[in-house]
Symmetry: C2
Subunit: 187 residues, 2 copies
Amino acid sequence: MLLSMPIPPEILKRKIVARSRLFRVEQLDLRFSNGVERIYERLVSAGYGAVVVVPINRAGEVVLICEYGGGSNSYQWGLPKGAVDPGEDRLAAANRELQEEAGYGARQLTFLKSVHLTPSYMQRSVDIVLAQDLYEQSLPGDEPEPMEVMTWPLDELSSLLARDDVSDSLSISALYIARDYLNGLAQ
Amino acid sequence: MLLSMPIPPEILKRKIVARSRLFRVEQLDLRFSNGVERIYERLVSAGYGAVVVVPINRAGEVVLICEYGGGSNSYQWGLPKGAVDPGEDRLAAANRELQEEAGYGARQLTFLKSVHLTPSYMQRSVDIVLAQDLYEQSLPGDEPEPMEVMTWPLDELSSLLARDDVSDSLSISALYIARDYLNGLAQ
């Protein structure tokens, strides 16, 4: 692979072209290795990273939360997730979000993989963290309302995904990656 | 489930607070059913929808493309995807993107599921389309450079995901959803 790795485009210029309370849009003026020039835009991320947590209990069930999504304007079942705080490592952030959103702490936390919501136009990557050896423990969060929590067998993801209120591709990819990891350990 | 469906927050006010060539940020002033008021922001989507295509050849391999992502500033392997054009249905859009980006057409196209990159702050949903019975067929696209194409066995996703240049959670979730669908048919 190393010999055939493509040459990344040269970034001729970068500037912030729009910003709001949460978002900053950066324009990239690019020259590709074949000489073609293009203007791209991306969402740049402030902060210290983000985590999504796959909490698995002793029964092999995943702990899911139901949260209002402002993007979809609907309630969706998915995994606990959130931003890493200053000075916090990703495993600590995962354990904190798990306690704030789902009411569990975890004695065992394992980093699995970093993914992008989309590498096309979002700079931020999200670290997938597997949480095991759970215990009941709540921390106050910044959520506007308490979240519903349910458990679902990790080996029945197909029936979970048949639901219209399960549509978060980040949660879906994290669930499958965790299932593959655990199945690999079990073999 | 119907009886316990949460009551969505009331949208007190909506306004566009930032815009660029590609993005529009909408502010939502919300009142949750418990009376708590919050200000959310989301990216609103113009256009007619979006598709991501899972092309599977006769050997049971998925066709992947390598594309520069402005968000990650790196080349990433993933699935063909793009916006639906005016007047186009999602299956036609999937077949067009497949021809533009991967050099294949498909005689069999199956809608599998709609997902969100994240329901938290992105309005747009993306339709996952399975493409089968492939034939070689290219259409000129708007890409700045030709894309590399490779095939990968669909039953070896774990080794694919071990790569650092495979990080798109939309592609990852679509791959697993397609694999589950095809495994279900095979049983």
